[in-house]
Symmetry: C2
Subunit: 202 residues, 2 copies
Amino acid sequence: MNYPNGKKFQKPLEPHGTTMKNPRANASTFSNRGMKLEKLINESNTFYLTHNRAIIHKKPTPLQIVQVDYPKRSAAVVKEAYFKQPSTTDYNGVYRGKYIDFEAKETNHKTSFPLKNFHPHQIEHMRQCVAHGGICFVIIRFSMYNVQYVLSVEHVFPWWEQLETGRKSIPLDQIEQHGIKIKTGAFPAIDYLEAVDELYFT
Amino acid sequence: MNYPNGKKFQKPLEPHGTTMKNPRANASTFSNRGMKLEKLINESNTFYLTHNRAIIHKKPTPLQIVQVDYPKRSAAVVKEAYFKQPSTTDYNGVYRGKYIDFEAKETNHKTSFPLKNFHPHQIEHMRQCVAHGGICFVIIRFSMYNVQYVLSVEHVFPWWEQLETGRKSIPLDQIEQHGIKIKTGAFPAIDYLEAVDELYFT
């Protein structure tokens, strides 16, 4: 099966009712859509850290741990745990003396970004951080076009507020108008801080 | 068995070679010493959040997930995971427009705080955050006295640097001299931001 753009349909990696044994598994195996973007951002964060440009880390996936084994002479093993709803965004840190906080989302849609990709608590968290002087934005990836935008949360809030009664998504042309398209490359993979400079430091 | 101060000796909760089944288990079951302080800080952070004073969260415990089961019609279950060394400190957020980053440590010692409580990467992370304009400190609890101090990392670095050849701990009188003793109460449990105000905003 192929998409109209000629790209091959990718079977989701995690069918329900099965067991996955994968040493690199993490929460994004949950929703494979987010994996590509997460990889790009993590690589970029490592680049920024190495080059002393910013200190930004992805937060670990929150797990509710239920059972831990302590085998003799071996490391403790978590034997039962469940994924928890995170109460914040995935990424934060410090850049140019400012608190930075953002969420990264990926969509297969072509003309708009569905708001259901956000959890209410993520929006609420970013609203609080902005109120306390933090810089908050979202990185939105349109995977069909292989493009990423930095969009200030101030341009997300109005869409979120009309969600109940109005549109369920942010039109791509609005993201293009108010956001900054992120330059891609090898080092860093995606230079989202350049977009942040343009939005917040000029 | 009682300590000289009359407090009962508490048996560690996590003997090796056993299984713990506890829905509230988390990484601090690893080192029970840290549990009391973590609880005090989490309660205080919730208070600060509720009262719109600061947005500070504890990061989730980093786990290396090896195996996940996806039972039909039920939530995904992590069946095998291992505790990972965190690459940052446990707490960060935004306060008065500034990036806040800190680590919290507890000791049973009476006259000094052993530097081995810090991991090298935690010190390195705080050094980086300070260089980028963040406010970094440690909260040190002396459990025998039931007291907590906020100590700016600038007063930790010199001790860390002489660790190989010199003292293995920071004397309590130095912590008393350069740190701020945290006021305790019910709301918040420990008012560490008041100490932060005194150290960084006066």
